[in-house]
Symmetry: C2
Subunit: 215 residues, 2 copies
């Protein structure tokens, strides 16, 4: 599958490598396609990952991943070009984190909105699936942990798009995602992130992840 | 320990029975001390549980538990009498759930406040510990599930109060709580609840609980 990853930070790099290892044709879009760190990183990546502008990557992918900082999401979409998302599945991995001084972050959306919904409203012809925003980057493509497999949560309005995302997640080693319903459920997976960060802070590790136990 | 439970719904009943079985001297406070359902229920409870008004139960307990509906929290505190909480540990199990028609609920607080913080502001001389609000009532006092032990989260400004709560939770079978910091972290454990409800809805059971996996 042709995959365009919008964002070249840790999340974008991890997902690009993960999709490439699984045989997908990946291009990473970045605001700085010639930055040396990116070239250095690409030499160490398994599989083949191309690099281009946000517009290049959005045009390349039949499936797109929004993997930038939450505060940059709308600018990145604008740089990619809204029309490039039409009819495509868009995995939204962003979180609307708001950092104030040295405090633990909150969110810059309210409880009656989310970044996932904002992205879907901005791109009404894209099939937005909120997924993978509830964990550390390293967990996204290698979910198995010492004491078991975490759960992955998806939210989105298009059932077929969620099935496509579930197939791709399975390639990474995830079991069946928990389906939270429409994209408005993104407000609660995004609100999980400040909780997850506080949990990680108490446990002293970012490599902690959510599992749902059942009776 | 003398425990006052404010609220006689499923959460209040479950916690009252749980504390009584563990040997504590429990009184449940309710707006309707003579309601027949409550007497019927008390006959089936292990241990001894007294019933009284909110003021009776608040006066009885050296440790208090706010276990009413979130929307009723301030009225229940008022009925108990604010002064009755002075100097006591108050376990706040409430959630600010907002139900609209048949939809999945949201929260009636914003992302920059929580019911836990409102309770602490209302009762500045109480030692509020937000705990046990992240799960089904049946899990609170019997946490062990088929595939392991869930995690319990605490938030509060008073370290000694959190240690007291941790000891009581251990009696129920919980391991060491994850300490999220001050009471302001309640905004994120409360925001977990709408997510938990959507997860439960997809899995078809309320008996699902959060565990944190570690690498």
């Amino acid at each position: 599958m042709k995959v365009g990853i919008l964002g070249s930070g840790q999340v974008g790099q991890t997902l690009a490598a993960g999709f490439a290892v699984n045989g997908h044709d990946v291009m990473v879009g970045t605001g700085h396609p010639s930055k040396p760190e990116l070239k250095r990183w690409l030499r160490t990546t398994d599989g083949t990952v191309a690099v281009g502008t946000f517009a290049d990557a959005a045009a390349h992918g039949d499936l797109l991943v929004l993997a930038c900082a939450g505060a940059a999401a709308m600018d990145v979409i604008g740089a990619a070009g809204d029309g490039a998302f039409d009819g495509k599945v868009l995995i939204d991995v962003t979180n609307p984190l708001e950092f104030k001084g040295g405090e633990m972050p909150g969110l810059f959306v309210g409880l009656t909105d989310s970044l996932g919904e904002r992205v879907q409203r901005r791109l009404p012809r894209a099939k937005v699936v909120k997924a993978l925003n509830t964990m550390n980057a390293s967990t996204m493509t290698r979910p198995e942990m010492r004491d078991g497999l975490p759960d992955v949560l998806v939210a989105g309005n298009d059932a077929a798009a969620k099935r496509t995302v579930a197939r791709l997640l399975k390639e990474f080693g995830w079991s069946k995602p928990i389906d939270l319903g429409g994209i408005e459920a993104a407000r609660w997976t995004e609100a999980w992130v400040p909780l997850w960060m506080r949990i990680a802070d108490d446990l002293g590790s970012w490599k902690v992840a959510l599992r749902i136990l059942r009776e």
